[in-house]
C-alpha cells in the first residue's frame, strides 16, 4: 500500500512526458501533494523520490529551498492568506494590514487560526501593487484591502 493515493500518483506521472528529465517533475509533484494534503509529509517525499528515480534527500533539498512547502508538523489551514509587505503595499498600509489580520485571528505570520480555516503568511511583492495593500487568497489577488474591508475578507474566508 502506498501512502499517496493512486489518483495522486497518476497525476504526478502524467507530468513525465513534458520534460527530458524526471527530476523536473519535482515541483509539480510537490504542488500536487501539498494542494491535496495541505503539507508534504515525509512518506510522500519518499514516494515522490521513488516515482522520479531520485533519492528522498534530493526531493527534500529542493522542497526546503522554497519556503512555500510545509512539512507535516506544520500543515496549512484550508485557505492560505498571503499579505504583502513589500514597498508599494507598505506605502499604503500593508504592514498595518498584516498586523491587523494577525491580531484578529490571534496568530503570527505562518500560523493557522484555531478553527483551522485560515493560514496567514507575509509575502514579498505579489505583483498586485496597483491595488495596494494587496493580498493573495491561495493564488488569487484581492486588491485595495483597506482597514474597513478586513472583517469582510476574514468572514468570507471563514465560511
Amino acid at each position: 500500500m502506498s501512502y499517496l493515493s493512486e489518483d495522486l500518483r497518476q497525476k504526478i506521472l502524467a507530468y513525465l512526458p513534458r520534460y527530458p528529465s524526471k527530476q523536473a517533475v519535482t515541483l509539480p509533484a510537490l504542488h500536487l501533494v501539498q494542494d491535496e494534503l495541505r503539507c508534504v509529509p515525509r512518506q510522500a517525499i519518499v514516494e515522490i523520490a521513488d516515482l522520479l528515480d531520485l533519492s528522498p534527500a534530493e526531493v527534500h533539498d529542493t522542497m526546503t529551498f522554497y519556503g512555500f512547502f510545509r512539512e507535516e508538523e506544520k500543515p496549512l489551514g484550508r485557505t492560505r492568506l498571503w499579505v504583502c509587505r513589500s514597498l508599494a503595499c507598505a506605502l499604503r498600509g500593508g504592514e498595518e494590514l498584516l498586523s491587523d489580520v494577525c491580531q484578529k485571528l490571534n496568530v503570527k505570520p505562518g500560523g493557522t487560526s484555531a478553527d483551522g480555516k485560515i493560514t496567514v503568511e507575509f509575502a514579498e511583492c505579489i505583483g498586485g501593487c496597483e491595488g495596494a495593500p494587496c493580498v493573495l487568497i491561495n493564488d488569487e489577488h484581492r486588491m485595495n484591502v483597506t482597514p474597513d474591508k478586513v472583517e469582510g475578507l476574514l468572514a468570507d474566508l471563514r465560511q
Binding site: 504542488h31 522554497y66 512555500f68 509587505r85 513589500s86 505583483g127 501593487c129 496597483e130
Partner: protein, 443 residues
Amino acid sequence: MPDYEPVLLRRVGKPGSQSIDGYIADGGYQALEKAVTTMTPEQVIDTVKSAGLRGRGGAGFPTGVKWTFLPKGHPGPIYLCVNGDESEPCTFNNRVLMEEDPHQFLEGVILTAYAVRAWVAYIYLRYEYGRSFRVLQQAIDDAYAKGYLGYDIFGKGFNLQVYLHRGAGAYICGEETGLIESLEGKRAWPRIKPPFPAVEGAFRKPTIVNNIETLACVTHIVQRGPDWFKSIGVPPDPKNPRDAGSYGPKLFNISGHVNKPGTIEAPLGITVRELIEKYGGGVWKGRKAKGAIPGGISMGIITEKEFDMPLDFNGPGKVACLGLGTGAVTVFDEETSIVDVLYNITRFFSHESCGQCTPCREGTGWMYKILDRIRRGQGRREDLQILDEVAKNIGIMPGTTICGLADGAGWPVKNAVQKFRDELEGYIKQGKKTTSLTLVGAH
C-alpha cells in the same frame, strides 16, 4: 508629445480580450502565419534584430542578438524558457499582459520558438499568478485546438509544445539560470556564467530565456515590421558608439503615493515626472514627492529633483541608478522617512538572497540589521560608512557574486547614502526611534 496610441495594451479591458476568437478577429495570429509560411527562421531573427528590440526583463540585452548566440546548425533539442517569474517589487506589467491578452504574448512565444528552432517552450510562471496560470492554460489549449501549437503547424513541418511550469515563491527564480535550475527540479541557485544559457541552458541544452513583454513585442515587430518599431522611442546616442538605442513601446507601472496607480504604455523615453503627472494622477493628498524608485527596487532610488530623467535604457544611469529595470515607478511622498523605505528594501533582499555567495548572503543580512537598528534609534555614527562599503562590494560588478541580485541589493542603499545623507545622518544623530512596523507615509 502627441498622444500615443497603445499597441501592447490596445485590447486590454475590452470584452473578450482573452478569447482566441476575439484575438483572431482583431488580426491575431496573422504574424505567425506570415512568418511560418513565408519566412525562414533566420529572416525572423534578422527582423527582430534590425528592429533593435531590447529585453524588457531588466537587463536590456538586444533580443535578436541573443538569439544568434545559439550554436549554428545544432541538432536540437533547443529550449525556449519564458520568464514569467515577475517578482521584482513594484512590478506587475507581465501579469496584465498574461491575464488580459494571453494570445498576443503566446503568438510571440510561438514566433520566437520558430525563429530559434525550439521544439519545446516552458513558460515559468510565479505561483502567485494563479489567474494568469488559468487564463494562459485556456489560451494554450485553444491554440492547440486551432493548430497554432502541436505538430506540423501551417503544414510546414514546424512542431512546438508549450508547457506552463509553476514556481514556488522565490524571487531568485527570475534570474535566468536560477529559473533553469528551478525548472530542472533543483534549488534555484544561479549558475556561474559562462557558459551562457544560449550555449548550455535547460537540461544542458542550448536555451533562450526571454521575458513576457519582450515576446509580446516580437508579435508586433513581425506583424508591423522593424521600421514601425523604430519609429517609437529613442534612437542611439551618437556620442556613445555602444548604445543600441531604446526603441519601441514599453509598459510602465506606477504605484505608491500617487492618485492613480496602474499600468500604462508609452514610448521609451517618457520622464518620471510625466508618468506621475500625466498618468499617475499626481502625488496623493496634495503632497509633494520626496523621491521614487525608478524601475523596481533593484535599480536604486531617485530624488524628486531627478524626476525629469527619461525612462529609457540610458536615462537612469545618468542619475546614478543601475538601469531601466522593469519600468516600475513607485513614488514616496515628502512625509515618508527614507529610513523606512530603506528598511523595507533591505529586508526584501536579505529575505530573498539564495544564500549561495557569502558576500550576498551576509551583506544583505548586515544591511538589513543596520537599517533595523538605525530605525529603532540605535544607529551608530559609522553606520552609513558601513552601509556604503557593503553596498559597493557585493555584486557581479565588483566581482564578488554569482548573480545580479546582490548588485540590486546594494544599489538603493548606496544611492540613498549619497542622495539622502543629510536625512539619514539627522535621524541617527537625533536618536529618533521607530518601533511600529508602520511606514510613516502610509497615513
